[in-house]
């Protein structure tokens, strides 16, 4: 045993405050979940919350949330500081934007940042992000030709100054969105959750007698930095490339990357297809969020997220579909964005053989339905959003998870809640047999969904699906998962992207893709095969 440090309790007190900060942001996220209006936030958990130092560096982030929000929000606060300006920040302020390039990649996500003052001294920032149900424009879908068609754009402005809400902004919002009450309600929820975080932080600082978060930030960043760099040092050095094809809007899109491991890890996306004419483009901030998420899952899964845990992971890219610039349409950036982990993991698998899972369904199968009575009939109108997941890729020693979101962190909504929201009947939502790729370890199963408008109703839906033309590939000899299918129950084939119609009396049938298998199928355990048959995961 070596000498004890001069003030041994300093170490302990810093650790305790770090814990407390994580608890503060968890409270912040919980408040958002409890008060939000959009199903995407309250049922599915499509949100994030975090606390930042005065430089805009993330100190801690709530465990509740999804990677696409978490890692993008980590950068967003810097833009707010730059644009609002320190001199223009006051206690009681809240700032907002939905700028895809400064926030989280599309207009549907609202990011709010609030400065936290102790007395008149700025001590940090709270930020949160949530996906709201509507932002006007064409609605949630890939059909816009530029971001201007995709909805109202809110530059970085004050939602509240010194506690007084910007009513002009609220009026503009009301005039531009379809579900004004829900959207405005969510704006209030976001502001309220930052407020909760701020109050808890100040209470903690008063209790402990802290005047600034500088020393604590230094402690968090130095500890985290050392731990992440130690992990990176254990990786082999070199560069590995990967490419994959996805469905795109109406023609396949190629994604490419090179992962370079040195002191830090960089992912370059040169070789990916150019910017698309449709709203499937991805701002680099979102690409980076999912690239660093994939790397962190493999390299440092147990290290808490903060500025220092993300800093050693960098991205670069020429302008292309993964680095689309304004005014490219980006509404459903998540479909291509959710492919980024499979792309990056495919490169990492070459560096770390035997350590990386197979490809999976990747993109959520989100469906937005606009339901109405048939012409001349009586009934209800409703906007309904469902999040659904296909199968995850098989792992090096485990079968893939069936019908489970990856890389997204969101949950599905109960169908009983969905049917309460609007006049549709979900006739089926169950596992899809034979959809998991064969292998020593089987890919996760996709699922089958059947939706019919209630009698006297019809609906249009925005398809935001992928892996219909391009199945999830297996790894190490594992077979591909089954590709997805979109059709009506009379056999009419439908497209995986864009707005389409389901007439009264017809059912929309979605078959979600399965995950790829891992390892040679001949090595699969006989008991595992028998179990697949008896449970009906595999029909023969």
């Amino acid at each position: 045993m070596t000498d004890a440090s001069p003030d041994p309790t300093f170490e302990i007190r810093m650790q305790v405050m770090w814990n407390r900060l994580i608890s503060v942001v968890e409270e912040q996220a919980m408040t958002l979940l409890r008060t939000a209006f959009s199903t995407s936030v309250r049922e599915a958990g499509d949100l994030s919350a975090g606390v930042f130092d005065t430089e805009g560096r993330m100190l801690a982030q709530a465990v509740t949330g999804t990677p696409g929000h978490v890692n993008t929000m980590a950068e967003a606060v810097l833009h707010f500081i730059a644009e609002i300006g320190r001199d223009n920040m006051f206690p009681g302020d809240t700032y907002v934007t939905n700028d895809p390039w400064k926030g989280t990649g599309h207009l549907h996500d609202i990011t709010m940042v609030s400065p936290s003052f102790k007395g008149d001294r700025l001590v940090g920032f709270f930020a949160c992000t949530a996906h709201v149900v509507d932002v006007g424009g064409r609605g949630f879908g890939a059909d816009g030709k530029s971001v201007y068609e995709e909805g109202i754009q809110i530059p970085i402005v004050k939602f509240a100054e010194r506690g007084v809400v910007n009513h002009f902004l609220v009026q503009m919002l009301r005039a531009n969105v379809r579900e004004a009450n829900q959207v405005v309600g969510d704006f209030y929820s976001l502001a309220a959750c930052n407020d909760v975080g701020h109050r808890r932080l100040i209470a903690m600082m008063e209790e402990i007698g802290l005047e600034s978060l500088d020393a604590l930030g230094e402690f968090i960043f130095s500890r985290t930095d050392a731990a992440v760099r130690e992990r990176i040092a254990e990786l082999p050095r070199g560069a590995w490339g990967n490419r994959l094809l996805t469905d795109g809007y109406d023609s396949p899109v190629r994604l490419a990357c090179t992962v370079t491991i040195a002191e830090t890890v960089n992912v370059d996306f040169a070789g990916s297809d150019p910017v698309s004419r449709h709203g499937i483009n991805v701002p680099i901030i979102y690409t980076k969020a999912y690239a660093s998420y994939a790397l962190k899952c493999v390299v440092a899964p147990d290290i808490p997220n903060n500025w220092a845990s993300l800093a050693p992971f960098t991205v670069s890219s020429p302008v292309n579909i993964l680095n689309a610039e304004r005014p490219a349409p980006v509404s459903v950036r998540h479909v291509i964005g959710h492919m980024v982990p499979d792309l990056v993991l495919g490169a990492l698998a070459q560096a770390l053989p035997g350590k990386v899972l197979a490809e999976g369904a990747a993109a959520l199968w989100n469906i937005h339905m606009s339901v109405r009575p048939v012409a001349g009939g009586q009934g209800r109108r409703a906007e309904i959003l469902m999040f659904n997941s296909g199968g995850m890729g098989a792992r090096p020693a485990l079968d893939g998870l069936s019908a489970t979101a990856f890389p997204s962190g969101v949950m599905t909504m109960p169908i009983e809640a969905t049917e309460q929201t609007g006049p549709v009947v979900i006739w089926r939502k169950e596992l899809r047999p034979d959809s998991g790729g064969d292998g020593e370890f089987r890919g996760g199963l996709g699922q089958e969904i059947e939706i019919e408008p209630l009698p006297g109703h019809e609906f249009d839906f925005s398809a935001m699906f992928d892996r219909v033309g391009h199945a999830a590939k297996g790894r190490n000899g594992g077979k591909a998962g089954a590709p997805g299918l979109v059709a009506l129950d009379d056999g009419t084939a439908l497209k995986p992207k864009g707005w389409q119609h389901v007439p009264s009396g017809r059912r929309l049938k979605l078959s979600l893709p399965g995950g790829g298998g891992y390892g040679d199928p001949v090595r699969r355990d006989a008991a595992a095969r028998a179990n697949d048959i008896s449970k009906g995961y595999v029909s023969k």
Binding site: P8, T35, G185, T412
Partner: protein
């Protein structure tokens, strides 16, 4: 007093994971004992314990007036997956609801995550055609012919129980009831239907709950039958009642039919124990803190009633992580449970951060200081190194503790990794576990729209008195009561439990379309159900409390709004709206303004009925006048001062009511020690409770 009215002789029995606790209340005295839980014949441990306390009290089995029982057996059957083989009959198209869960991962970064296996495997889940819609309308008729055929297969399939769960059955149970008739006609098996077990919206939670009920039903029915016959053999003719997860009493017959309602009944007893203390002292806002060997449980108690919830999660598989267990939708005393107990193991993670639990040293090998081969440091080891425990006098001297072994373990796994001497390393361990508990308590309060520092704490369980003062410092709580009998708190709590039952029903009603007749009819049905269960246990007066769970249309989280106990009329929608707005503002700081035509809806009704109990004799908290100094002292680490301080050591039995001792001090007794940190004093109360109180609070 001229006439002696004999108060009933009541016995509480709590089967826990390690110990079975027995508490007997007779002639104004309390007798208690702990015996080891017997897993093969749980009723035997109860009888063994009863022998002990009855002998102490000089009574026989025939003298008992009532026996109240709570057990962790149902919970354990779910955790250890030792239940019946269940056939689950469900709506066509929804065979995999209990397997697909929420389609999410409870840990975002763990690529090797394993999700809990469903209670009923896919081959035993049988979809049947027939469909009820969201408004309760029939969209497709029930396929009775297919059910007839299925009933035959189930009868010969080797099943132990049947569960039925259909979509939207909480709106219209007709299909589930008809299916039960058809199956029961062909199978001699217990059949549970989701509209009776858990009539709440959200199919995953409801289906899982009905499957869990079926899963534990045969085992619990057998056990309860054996217990009753053994008691009869012994000559105990008294009625037996079960404590349920909501904290009330139900008959053994009801328990055998709805055994899922017994899940978490032991911890519920602890919350009732704390609620009783709260009522005795007239404390309207209390947080109960129960810390044992493996977990700590925290519960909010408002106006002498523990907070309740409509669902919870059991059998968490991964470090108590949210989402790693299974949801059970039944009325339950809401508490937060974290992996922090005296046996929780301390370790250091990749960032050099001290972590504690959820792994526990349990009783074998136990903490390193037990000298039974444990090498890894537990919370008890850290407490010992800090001087909080007297090594010569632990558990009544039953186990001699080794401070040297504790120091070695603390140094090996924590101190050497962080360059800390044993004392600061042990302080670090205690700080982390205390901070974890404080954070859990704080978040739990926020989830309920409360501020934790407004409460008085009631602490019980073997490890709680060692940590309560520091926890209060962290939470900004000024007073903490440590009642006598804290070691068997749950069993004592059983004796205080009311005959109570909560009936719930999901019914979605917008205030703009509020139909008083419809609401009155629904509430009348719930009242009849709730009172029916209570009437089975008591002839006394019954009171009921009606609650509507409401939200803005579009929100997903409902908040409870108490309703008046009367029929509703046409003008009541406005009053409900005002009540909701006020409740919302209490929860979340402000009602939402600036919204036009924002609708409000009721989602679920609840009726809670219970018998009216005489209030316990009221006591007043005394802050004490007589300052007492200890005869002995030893150095004990004080967290606020960050150093060892000379600390008075005082045996609990030497304190008289009104005595006040200045912290730092340690009050020692047979089962545990109460640590009084430097910001606190301790005052002996009239009933033998200890009150930790901030120094500045004086008479």
């Amino acid at each position: 007093m001229t006439a002696q009215i004999r108060s009933p002789i009541r016995l509480g029995a709590d089967i826990g994971g390690t110990f079975t606790d027995i508490a007997l209340e007779a002639r104004g005295a309390m007798y208690s004992t702990k015996v080891l839980t017997n897993y093969t014949a749980p009723e035997q441990a109860i009888l063994d314990g009863m022998d002990v306390v009855l002998r102490q009290a000089g009574l026989g089995y025939g003298d008992l007036d009532i026996l109240i029982h709570g057990t962790t057996l149902a919970t354990n059957a779910l955790i250890e997956r030792r239940g019946a083989r269940v056939a689950f009959v469900t709506t066509e198209g929804f065979r995999d609801v209990i397997e697909m869960r929420t389609e999410s991962r409870f840990d975002q970064y763990d690529l090797n995550l394993v999700l809990p296996t469903p209670l009923v495997p896919r081959e035993d889940r049988f979809p049947v055609r027939g469909r009820i819609g969201a408004q309760g309308q029939e969209l497709a008729g029930l396929d009775e012919a297919a059910l007839e055929a299925l009933a035959g297969r189930i009868a010969t399939g080797g099943y132990g129980a049947v569960a039925i769960g259909f979509i939207h059955s909480y709106m219209n149970p007709a299909h589930e009831r008809r299916a039960r008739e058809i199956i029961a006609a062909k199978c001699d098996l217990p059949v549970s239907i989701s509209s009776e077990v858990s009539p709440q919206m959200r199919e995953f939670e409801r289906f899982n709950t009905v499957c869990a009920n079926a899963y534990v039903r045969p085992q619990m029915a057998d056990y309860l039958g054996r217990l009753q016959s053994r008691l009869q053999e012994k000559g105990a003719g008294c009625p037996v009642f079960m404590i349920h997860s909501g904290g009330g009493l139900i008959s053994v017959e009801t328990a055998a039919e709805f055994p899922v309602r017994l899940v978490e009944s032991g911890p519920a007893g602890g919350a009732i124990f704390a609620a009783d203390v709260a009522q005795r002292f007239g404390l309207d806002r209390v947080v109960s803190y129960d810390m044992g060997g493996t977990t700590a449980k925290i519960c909010l108690i408002e106006d002498f009633a523990p907070k309740t919830a409509r669902s919870f999660e059991v059998a968490r598989t991964a470090r108590f992580a949210k989402g790693s267990g299974m949801p059970i939708s039944i009325p339950v005393i809401e508490m937060i449970e974290i992996g922090a107990g005296g046996g929780s193991i301390a370790w250091v993670d990749a960032m050099g951060r001290i972590q504690t639990g959820p792994e526990s040293a349990a009783s074998e090998p136990g903490p390193a200081c037990y000298q039974r081969g444990g090498k890894r440091p537990a919370i008890t080891d850290a407490d010992l190194v800090l001087g909080k425990i007297d090594p010569e006098n632990f558990a009544g001297g039953a186990i001699r503790l080794s401070t040297a072994k504790a120091e070695t373990a603390v140094t090996r796994d924590v101190g050497s990794k962080l360059n800390l001497a044993p004392l600061p390393a042990a302080f670090g361990i205690c700080e982390v576990v205390d901070e974890n508990m404080a954070n859990a308590a704080r978040v739990h309060a926020v989830e309920n729209g409360k501020n934790i520092s407004d409460n008085i704490m009631v602490a019980f369980g073997g490890a709680a008195p060692l940590h309560a003062a520091r926890l209060c410092e962290k939470l900004g709580i000024h007073q903490c009561l440590i009642p006598p009998g804290a070691g068997v708190g749950s069993a004592i709590g059983f004796l205080k439990a009311p005959f109570g039952y909560e009936a719930l029903a999901s019914k979605i009603i917008r205030l703009s379309a509020f139909d008083p007749a419809e609401v009155n009819a629904a509430l009348a049905g719930l009242k009849a159900t709730a009172k029916g269960f209570v009437r089975a246990g008591t002839d006394g007066a019954i009171q009921s409390q009606t609650t509507a769970f409401m939200r803005y249309v579009g929100q997903g989280w409902e908040i409870p709004v108490p309703l008046p106990d009367r029929d509703f009329g046409p003008g009541d929608a406005e009053a409900l709206e005002r009540d909701f707005q006020a409740a919302y503002a209490r929860f979340f700081g402000r009602a939402i303004d600036g919204l036009q035509d924002l609708e409000i809806e009721i989602v679920t009704f609840s009726v809670k009925a219970q018998d009216i109990r005489p209030a316990p004799e009221r006591q007043t908290l005394t802050r004490g006048r007589v300052h007492v100094a200890g005869q002995f002292s030893r150095p004990v680490f004080d967290p606020a001062k960050g150093d060892l301080l000379a600390t008075a050591i005082i045996p609990r039995e030497t304190l008289r009511p009104g005595d006040r001792v200045q912290g730092p001090a340690v009050v020692v007794e047979r089962e545990t020690s109460t640590v009084v940190t430097s910001p606190f004093d301790v005052v002996m109360q009239d009933d033998g409770s200890l009150l930790l109180i901030r120094k500045e609070m004086v008479e």
